[in-house]
């Protein structure tokens, strides 16, 4: 067993985990952060995408013990005090979610993209979400939602997200 310390959505957490536990299982089963989904479990589908120190990763392919000392962001960190993030609102406004299973991973990939590139091109959006499979929407609405979020963020520099110093 290994004792690890890390932050999840800004909260410091400590956990004692077996070597064989994945970060995904730690988030879902120990911390009850079940917004992050398990799809394939082998890094193919992107449903378990979270941010590790700001970069999107698949949490099914990372051991919990490897997260020691790192900063993790999950879908639960998007809305603050019940207020949706600009990305979440854009997904709703564009009808970019149907069954919803891929949505948490999709939003975390989009979040990682907007952290790196605030005004992504169509191609850059496609590349960023190539690792997130969606069987419902056909992707076009998702791409539109990310474009909409980027546009709203660039216009609304006085928004809560901008005040927090990141592309919420």
């Amino acid at each position: 067993m290994h004792t690890i310390r890390f932050t999840v959505n800004g909260h410091v957490e400590q956990a004692t985990v077996p070597a064989t536990m994945t970060l995904l299982d730690l988030l879902r089963d120990r911390l009850a952060l079940t917004g992050t989904k398990e799809g394939c479990g082998i890094g193919e589908c992107g449903a378990c995408t979270v941010l590790l120190n700001g970069n999107p990763i698949t949490s099914c392919l990372m051991l919990a013990v490897e997260a020691d000392g790192s900063d993790i962001e999950t879908i639960e960190g998007e809305a603050i005090g019940g207020e949706l993030s600009v990305l979440q609102q854009a997904f709703i406004d564009e009808g970019a979610t149907q069954c919803g299973f891929c949505t948490p991973g999709m939003i975390m990939s989009a979040r990682g993209l907007l952290n790196r590139i605030p005004d992504p091109s169509h191609e850059e959006i496609i590349e960023a979400i190539a690792g997130n499979l969606c069987r419902c929407t056909g992707y076009e609405a998702i791409i539109s939602a990310i474009q909409l979020a980027a546009a709203r963020l660039s216009q609304d520099i006085g928004s809560r997200d901008a005040q927090e110093g990141r592309a919420r």
Partner: protein
């Protein structure tokens, strides 16, 4: 609330499942290369080095590998370094691919390698996966391998008997097999810088986007020497590097035919889940033609 939840019956079931799915191994985080070599030597072949884990953890989950110890090398400073300059480059063994792809100097110095790395997996996987991991995994279809072969890269390793430098052309010995001894740890990949070379990488996939190579191929052309180097992946138990070929630009079509013959006589493609051997044999001359078109047009050979 959260800590109470951990001890519920549901948690216990999931905990058990975790053990079943991901096998039974110990985890050790090393702080130095020497410590890593000693851990590896002690485990006598029962340990595996954990870098990005994007191949290793999938193989453990699928019961293809069952190491007793995972040795995490990501906290060793010497393995995190990237040096790119005119005399050549050293890519640390634990550097994630995205750090290379998003490094402007790396991109302009090794455009074909950057293209190959960008074709590996997805953004999320490339946040974790490493160049050293791609070659140590030793898949015949490893996308970085053909480019590293034509660039004459070498693999810097350290074992309990000291360091050694292994030319990449000697590194692969079979499907998922390398020349590394059980105590050796890869420190970096050294890539010579040849400003005169024109390089290109092509990958034939079943789908656009995230897929493994049906066939991949890299070429490096030196216009001054009129020498072409070509390497092919996913068509033999290891990636294949051809002997340097003297470029005859008199008749490009017949030259392409000549090169395609050399390629076909140097590989032994099999039929697998991604393609038949017949398809691979059919696509190889097409890729040769495209590579020559890219390199010779770019290289101003005509």
């Amino acid at each position: 609330m959260r800590s109470l939840f951990c001890f519920s019956g549901f948690k216990f079931v999931r905990f058990q499942r975790g053990f079943i799915v991901l096998g039974d191994f110990e985890y050790k985080r090393i702080r130095s290369i020497d410590e890593g070599c000693h851990c590896l030597a002690e485990a006598a072949g029962k340990a595996a080095v954990l870098a990005g884990g994007t191949d290793l953890l999938v193989e453990i989950r699928n019961h293809l590998k069952s190491p007793k110890v995972l040795i995490d090398c990501k906290n060793v400073d010497a393995l995190k370094q990237v040096h790119v300059d005119r005399s050549g480059s050293a890519i640390g063994a634990s550097v994630p691919l995205n750090r290379l792809i998003e490094n402007r100097a790396f991109h302009t110095t090794y455009p074909a390698l950057a293209t190959a790395l960008l074709s590996i997996g997805t953004y999320q996987l490339r946040s974790r996966a490493t160049l050293a991991g791609n070659i140590c995994n030793a898949s015949p279809a490893a996308d970085s391998a053909p480019v590293l072969l034509v660039l004459d890269a070498s693999v810097e390793v350290v074992g309990i008997r000291g360091p050694r430098s292994i030319p990449i052309r000697d590194f692969f010995v079979g499907v998922k097999k390398t020349v590394l001894t059980p105590d050796e740890i890869v420190v970096s990949i050294q890539i010579p810088q040849r400003a005169d070379l024109h390089t290109t990488f092509l990958k034939q996939q079943r789908i656009r986007g995230h897929d493994l190579a049906v066939v991949n191929m890299a070429g490096a052309y030196s216009p001054g020497e009129r020498i072409l180097r070509l390497a092919i992946g996913s068509c033999a138990p290891t990636p294949v590097l051809l002997e340097p070929i003297k470029v005859d630009v008199g008749n490009v079509a017949s030259f392409a035919g000549h090169v395609a013959e050399i390629v076909l006589s140097s590989v032994s493609p099999i039929s697998d889940v991604r393609a038949s051997s017949g398809y691979r044999n059919a696509i190889l001359p097409v890729l040769v033609k495209r590579i020559l078109h890219n390199l010779l047009a770019e290289g101003g050979a005509s």
